[in-house]
Symmetry: C2
Subunit: 115 residues, 2 copies
Amino acid sequence: MTKAKKEIRVRVWVDLDGERFFGPGRAELLQLIQDTGSISKAAKSMGMSYKKAWAMVDEMNEKAKKPYVIAQKGGQKGGGTEVTEAGKKMVDAYTRMMGRIQAIVEKDKSLLDYI
Amino acid sequence: MTKAKKEIRVRVWVDLDGERFFGPGRAELLQLIQDTGSISKAAKSMGMSYKKAWAMVDEMNEKAKKPYVIAQKGGQKGGGTEVTEAGKKMVDAYTRMMGRIQAIVEKDKSLLDYI
DNA sequence: TAGCGATATGTTCATCTGTACATATCGATT
DNA sequence: AATCGATATGTACAGATGAACATATCGCTA
């Protein structure tokens, strides 16, 4: 038998009213939208279907106090998507929080002894 | 329109080799097994089917270095389940980690501003 | 006004998940 | 040996999820 590689990765989800609202996938998606200016490019870059990415964006825009992205249809380039200040700040806040949490996890690896 | 209640709950999952291995549900399940001495009672207490609870226990036992629970069949009481030292320590380590993470989340609520 | 490219949305199908139900198994006690 | 209660496991079905595919829509540009 081969030796099992035991990597530990901690994933943090923020629930809203009992439902998952924000997590690593959405943070990455928003970051990629910000980088590419396009939902479809971001989705392709993550290996995710455009429809799913769009649904995520739509849900976030619906549930958040202020929309995270603003999409434009038509035009020379066919359209495009911009991440709003609220979206950027959400990603930043989540990323910072993840960083602090990762630091804690790194510091206390006692979990590893029992996995 | 009614004012939406915006509660934030952070859920932490520990992935193992890319798959979810341990999270809040399993921590609660193990704790309840420890309290009740029975998988079925713990499952019922969580509103979870026995089969699913058993499958979780089985998977954890399979993947962890040492089993988290040891089950006994038969006997006067029909059987029972004991949480091992490794299992207790895993729950403790996870719970402690969650506590520290919660403390961080409490301290930095900047996320709330964008939800 | 025709073309382009991205947004927006619907439909279908396979897959995964969990529930519900059924059954078998075990071992101390009676 | 019959009973009991919990473990152990199989099967069938419903709901959720995601992938794949197909369209429709929009607005600038040429």
